[in-house]
Point group: C2
Chain length 225, copies 2
DNA sequence: AAACTATTCAAGGATACAATTGAATAGTGT
DNA sequence: ACACTATTCAATTGTATCCTTGAATAGTTT
């Protein structure tokens, strides 16, 4: 038992490496962003509000736990999830937080109970309605994330450029906006702006990760290298 | 974005509470034990090789993350998983470690490639063979864990008492031993001892948590209070 | 009430970790 | 070769965490 006991000890130590990797809010935010698709260090640092050096260090920790991988392309290093299983793990962590931590639930309710949330539309039928042109589906994440993977037939309308699209859209046609998922505020903000301009807009709280997790199709517009 | 940005920040902080809870080897071992069933502080501390005060503190951390719950019965406090979803999360963490951490994989290979491992027997048909009496299935965990939940028709034969069962068993009848799961050494040791005595013994590497996760039936012999 | 038990609390020192800063590295463009 | 850029490394400081120790709490038994 002593020889095998040591084995067991080191085993929990190894698993704790994964735990430590997700024990920091900053790293969780980075992981969440990487679930949307690959990105460079600077881009991640900017989006998460971290200094570049700090983000780099956190990414190194995530890399040490084998959760992400970085590939150097010229001057930039592009990080991505090391495995789709990492995304699954993150989803499970989030689900557990939602279920067990009252605080998380309360925060999420602020999003979900907002009038912008889309409750009525079945996600399975949404795609068909989009195909028929009955609904316009817009992806309000940065163009970079759209290219890395988006819902089929969705238009890329980054939140920052939303204003310049007002003229192109018809006020009668229902618009559904989505972004990174239930935690992301981009679609909430987009719907707010659209409604203020008189559009019929709703928010879908699923993001690409949730969409993919349901086994629904994902489109990619980036050219593979 | 600043008001909602704060929300997002606190959200990752909340999720990091879960990460911190599973960032310590000692807490992971306690969680693993609790996945087998409820236990008292002293029992957990002894099994994990921790001082009682230390175990109590770790359990308090797990409780703070809402992963476990304690109930005071007289002089003892019995801890249990706060939700079956916690067990799922632990399994996902373990699966990720197995898949991504070469070190975990190497440690597990020592168990799996051992001659004691049971590869040939299909788990789905095992139960039928046990029912027909073709195979004897023994649960070599402590009796406490057996009572909290075990595979139907399995006999409780705690490893420590294995020696006193030799006389009762027929050498011809195949014996399958199981314990807490792939990481646990109890069944490995049991099979080693049985084979040394001339029995036809094999190890099933799934434990109760894996068995339950497959949707297979679990029996309980403890009286509900 | 007194002795005893399981658990928790509180304080301490050693260790590990997070964020900042400034320098070093490796690659690009002129 | 030169300036420039994205990223990483190294050193520092403040903070959080881990484990131990000894005392406190709550409940049981005699």
């Amino acid at each position: 038992m002593s020889a095998t006991g040591d084995l067991k000890k080191t085993l929990y130590e190894q698993l704790a490496r994964l735990g430590k990797a997700v024990a920091s809010p900053a790293r969780l935010e980075l992981l969440d962003l990487l679930c949307q698709g690959p990105r460079t260090v600077e881009s991640l640092a900017h989006e998460a509000g971290l200094s570049v050096a700090n983000a780099s260090q956190h990414l190194r920790v995530l890399h040490g736990a084998r959760l992400v991988e970085g590939e150097k392309n010229g001057l930039f290093v592009t990080y991505r999830l090391a495995d789709p299983a990492v995304g699954d793990f993150f989803q499970t962590l989030r689900a557990l937080g939602e279920k067990r931590l009252a605080e998380v639930d309360a925060i999420l309710r602020e999003f979900r109970e907002a009038p912008e949330s889309l409750e009525a539309i079945e996600k399975e039928t949404l795609l068909n309605r989009v195909k028929k042109g009955e609904v316009i589906l817009i992806d309000v994440r940065p163009a970079e994330e759209y290219r890395a993977g988006h819902i089929p037939f969705a238009m890329s309308v980054p939140l920052k450029e939303l204003g310049s699209h007002f003229a192109k859209l018809r006020r009668r046609q229902p618009i559904v906006a989505y972004c990174r998922g239930p935690y992301c505020v981009l679609a909430v903000e987009a719907v707010k702006q659209l409604r203020a301009k008189g559009f019929r807009a709703a928010r879908m709280d699923d993001g690409i990760a949730e969409w993919r997790a349901r086994g629904l199709p994902v489109a990619v517009s980036e050219v593979a290298k």
